[in-house]
């Protein structure tokens, strides 16, 4: 069942490749249909999800087949509280991108095939319970996104795509070295995450454990991205097509953050505890640096890209703080981990939607320069409304998903890392300032030079693609229990593993 969810988009892509005479409209129709069916299947999985502690057991919809037994690697997939929310967010975001692309006209077939391929890769990564399987999807996501940016981007797409590929590929190889280190340390040798989380093979080996954690952390940090590994992100985001940016920010960045919760913490709990302070510091620096640099941007899309660095910083801070709190206060560290996972979902929904909205903006004025706009709220009220809600959600306004996430992270982190957490509070202040300023520049005041005539409001496709993630963020903000009930047991397991 889970394999169907993962590979359905790829099957659809194969069908599209095999039918060369299909008209463009039909191709996109098929793409939307495939994404919709996949989303429906994920919702069904969610409804039937039995719950459970996850991570070292209690994994739902598990499948474990032999794949490369000689290197101790198998096709092992399954979902728990850490991965199910991300799977659902991924399916929704890809559906939104499919709907958004209804008016795409350039090389439509290849575009649809690439996105369907990326959907399989992203879903596959979040359900992987085997390090090699995880790595395969991790690397393929880089390849897929490279072609999206290089083929459909604007500005200097080739350059940005190359930079993106090279940078994240370095990270992925560091990750691979770390994985091989874990494999060699385990007895018997295995790449199975559940097995490794049970045996934690590198406990007590300070040198090897430190090296392996360093390799894995660098690999994941590049993808997350945290300061100082974030430099590939702004150009890649700015030059990617809108759905590409939405997937890159909404889904691909989560792969790094997810890796920390899924791999680094459960498999190397003691080492994580030893180095938790490093992650706290990196998290806080990312929060503040990302916000400050975003504040200096005049380009809307670039600004949103930098707020991603800021938001991913909260996640790293929360996970690091969970490591520092370990042993002292299980409740607090559970809260921090839950908050981090919630933040992954919230950021995916809100930032994904913001990037699609940036695409809408670009189609109206042909530029991302905020100074060139102004007064759009009058002509395009729906556009203004959706953007405003997404931006407020992004800055952590109560009643929206971002608030739930950040509140939990701060509450969970405060006791164990009071000073860094206090510093990170300023991040919220800064993002509030910069997002409000962006809203003001684009939607209020005098009509800017970029928009001639009467700019159109959101079209049906644009509304149907940008609004659902925002609506879901509101639902999570008001009634988060359905989400937190899924995340909390798994988060408690992770926190308990680190606490031992």
């Amino acid at each position: 069942m889970l394999s169907v969810v993962v590979f359905l988009p790829s099957a659809a892509a194969a069908v599209l490749l095999a039918l060369p005479r299909l008209p463009d409209r039909a191709v996109i129709g098929a793409w939307v249909a495939a994404a919709a069916v996949d989303l429906a299947l994920v919702i069904a999985l969610w409804v039937a999800y039995p719950g459970g502690s996850g991570v070292t057991g209690d994994i739902a919809y598990e499948a474990d087949l032999r794949w490369i037994p000689t290197v101790g690697s198998g096709y092992h997939i399954g979902v728990d509280g850490l991965s199910l929310p991300l799977v659902a967010m991924t399916a929704l975001l890809f559906f939104a991108c499919a709907v958004y692309s209804l008016r795409e006209q350039r090389r439509v077939r290849a575009y649809a095939v690439l996105f369907l391929f990326l959907q399989t890769v992203s879903l596959g990564l979040f359900v992987s319970l085997d390090l090699i399987l995880f790595f395969v999807f991790f690397d393929l996501s880089i390849v897929g996104m490279y072609f999206v940016i290089a083929g459909w981007g604007h500005g200097t797409p080739i350059r940005s795509a190359l930079q993106f590929f090279l940078y994240t590929f370095v990270g992925s190889l560091a990750l691979l070295l770390g994985f091989i280190g874990l494999y060699l340390a385990a007895d018997p040798h295995t790449f199975d995450m559940v097995e490794l989380a049970r045996s934690t093979p590198l406990e007590g080996d300070a040198l090897a454990g430190g090296l392996v954690l360093a390799a894995i952390a660098v690999g994941l940090a590049v993808k997350t991205p945290t300061v100082p590994f974030h430099t590939w992100l702004p150009p890649a985001h700015t030059d990617a097509p809108a759905p590409g940016s939405a997937i890159l920010a909404g889904v691909l960045l989560k792969m790094g953050a997810y890796g920390f919760v899924r791999i680094a913490m459960p498999i190397l709990p003691g080492v994580w505890r030893d180095y938790a302070a490093v992650f706290v510091v990196v998290g806080v620096v990312s929060v503040l640096y990302g916000a400050l640099v975003a504040l200096a941007q005049t380009d809307f899309k670039r600004m949103v890209a930098y707020t991603s660095v800021n938001h991913m910083g909260y996640i790293v801070l929360g996970l690091g703080a969970a490591g520092m709190a370990a042993g002292a206060d299980l409740q607090a560290s559970t809260l921090a981990v839950t908050g981090a996972v919630t933040q992954m979902v919230a950021h995916g929904l809100l930032t994904g939607s913001l990037f699609l909205l940036a695409g809408v903006l670009y189609t109206r004025g042909g530029t991302y320069d905020m100074a060139a706009y102004g007064g759009l709220a009058k002509a395009a009220p729906r556009f203004a409304l959706v953007t405003a809600v997404a931006a407020f959600g992004s800055l952590g306004l109560p009643g929206l998903a971002g608030f739930i996430a950040e509140f939990q992270i701060f509450t969970g982190s405060l006791s164990s890392a009071p000073v860094p957490t206090a510093l990170a509070f300023f991040g919220i202040l800064l993002t509030a300032a910069l997002l409000l300023r962006a809203l003001q520049r684009i939607f209020l005041g005098q009509r800017g030079r970029a928009v001639r005539g009467e700019p159109a409001d959101l079209s049906a496709a644009e509304a149907l693609s940008t609004a659902p993630p925002v609506l879901l963020a509101i639902v999570i903000g008001i009634a988060p229990r359905f989400l937190l009930d899924v995340i909390e047991p798994a988060a408690r397991t992770v926190a308990a593993l680190v606490a031992q």
Binding site: F135, F165, L166, F169, L173, A174, L176, L177, I180
Partner: protein
């Protein structure tokens, strides 16, 4: 000894003889019959080899030829590579005055390569080396054009030099070890003078490194690859590696096992130099064949990483053999694309290929990303196992260097992939390669698609090959 043990080798030899005789009496327009004979003998060799795998590993009574995992792989991979070469060449040499000679030379070179892989005696190794080399000199110059002649001359001179080196090494080791077979050498060499053994080993390995195109005897690779006919270039950058690296590994494992020689360090240094120099030199190549030539130099580096892990890890051999198989499929796939577009010589000539020849373009992308080691292609599994073996052997620095090199290699492979995606309108109308009006060699295009599919299949379903390799050890 039982001649039935050498059925695959006999099939290749018989195929060469029959092809030579039949070719002399067949009219030029019927030479395709000779091609079929050659392909049949290659297929027969592979089938015999597959049948022989079930038998337990053994050494011939004289101790000079080992029938084990390394030979089994070579017996299948080498004929497969040779068959692909013949298929790729079919379009180029059909109706050629010396068509059947081409096939004979390929068969003989394949036979020599297999013998190298199986040799566990110095004289058999030398014989296999010469048989694997001399036909290839002729193949490189087959086109008889200026570039080809220069390439053949360069290849021949370097080959003659390294052949002499190899023979010197063989003589020296023979002299101090007082025996030709590796099993005896393993007993006698530890008592021999370490200095002399080192000199002999160095000379011997230098010859084998030449065949595999590794630094420091790599100078022929770019020129020969660029000047030789494209199918021959595919052959010389791929197939001899199987024999040469198996031979290096076997010599290190079986003959040098107990000596005081610190083998892993020089092997690791050679690996490091080969991958780094190959990658750096490939960076700004605009000629696709030169690019592939430097890429092959760098790939030998990764293969030598497994050789460096020979004493430190149980999986060194299986990783090396799997990587060889994976590399054979992938590199031949990339060359098949080059052969399919004979007029596309530079990277820019591939502009717009995706639009005009989507399947060919996809094959190229799969093969090039495969050479990088992107999952789930076969070379990824190869790299994974090689890195694992080397880390297991404690060669952390070498693995880190190999990873860094992998990233560097990505840069130049992407330089080739990018134009494939651009539409011709984006650039000057450089429509020499991918244009719809340009004839595509259909056979080569088919081979490219099959090779790309094989690369993926071998990566996703690696177990059927990796499992038997894992249990197979070299016989002593």
């Amino acid at each position: 000894m039982n001649p039935g043990l050498l059925l695959p080798e006999s099939a290749l030899a018989a195929g060469a003889v029959i092809a030579l005789l039949a070719g002399s009496w067949t009219p030029r327009r019927l030479q395709w019959i000779v091609r079929c004979v050659a392909l049949l003998s290659l297929a027969a060799a592979a089938v015999f080899a597959a049948a022989a795998m079930a038998r337990p590993a053994t050494v011939t009574p004289e101790g000079v030829y080992a029938l084990d995992a390394a030979l089994h792989l070579a017996r299948v991979a080498v004929p497969a590579g040779a068959a692909i070469t013949i298929l790729l060449a079919a379009g180029h040499v059909a109706g050629h005055r010396r068509e059947s000679e081409f096939y004979v030379l390929v068969l003989l070179a394949a036979l020599g390569t297999v013998v190298m892989a199986g040799a566990s005696g110095l004289l058999v190794l030398a014989a296999g080396y010469l048989l694997a080399s001399i036909p290839v000199y002729a193949l490189v110059g087959f086109g008889k054009d200026a570039l080809g002649t220069e390439a053949a001359l360069k290849y021949y001179l370097m080959g003659a030099l390294s052949g002499v080196l190899l023979l010197t090494g063989v003589t020296t080791v023979f002299g101090v070890g007082a025996a030709g077979d590796y099993a005896t050498l393993a007993r006698t060499l530890p008592d021999a003078s370490a200095g002399v053994v080192a000199v002999g080993t160095t000379a011997l390995v230098a010859g084998l490194l030449f065949k595999s195109g590794a630094v420091p005897v790599h100078f022929w690779v770019p020129d020969a690859t660029q000047g030789a006919p494209a199918p021959v270039a595919a052959f010389i950058t791929t197939v001899p590696k199987i024999g040469a690296l198996a031979a290096i590994f076997r010599f290190a494992d079986q003959a040098l096992g107990e000596t005081a020689l610190n083998w892993p360090l020089p092997a690791a240094l050679l690996a490091a130099a080969s991958m780094t120099l190959g990658n750096l030199a490939a960076f700004f190549q605009d000629d696709v064949r030169r690019l592939l030539a430097y890429s092959t130099i760098s790939q030998v580096g990764y293969l030598l990483v497994a050789v460096a892990a020979v004493h430190g890890s149980d999986t060194a051999l299986s990783s090396l053999l799997f990587y060889l198989a994976a590399y054979t499929a992938t590199n031949l796939g990339a060359f098949a694309v080059v052969c399919a577009l004979p007029r596309a010589r530079t990277l820019a000539d591939y502009t717009g290929l995706m639009r005009k020849r989507p399947w060919l373009a996809l094959s190229l992308i799969v093969c090039l990303l495969g050479l990088v080691g992107t999952p789930p292609t076969a070379v990824f599994i190869g790299k994974l196992t090689v890195f694992t073996a080397a880390l297991d052997a404690g060669l952390v620095w070498l693995v880190v260097l190999a990873a860094v090199n992998t990233v560097a290699s990505l840069f130049y492979y992407l330089r080739w992939i990018l134009p494939v995606f651009r539409t011709a309108a984006d650039d000057a109308p450089a429509d020499r390669g991918g244009g719809a009006d340009v004839p595509v060699v259909r056979w080569s295009a088919g081979v490219a698609v099959v090779a790309a599919a094989a690369t993926l299949a071998l990566g996703i379903g690696s177990s059927p090959l990796l499992d038997p390799l894992q249990t197979g050890v070299l016989v002593r």
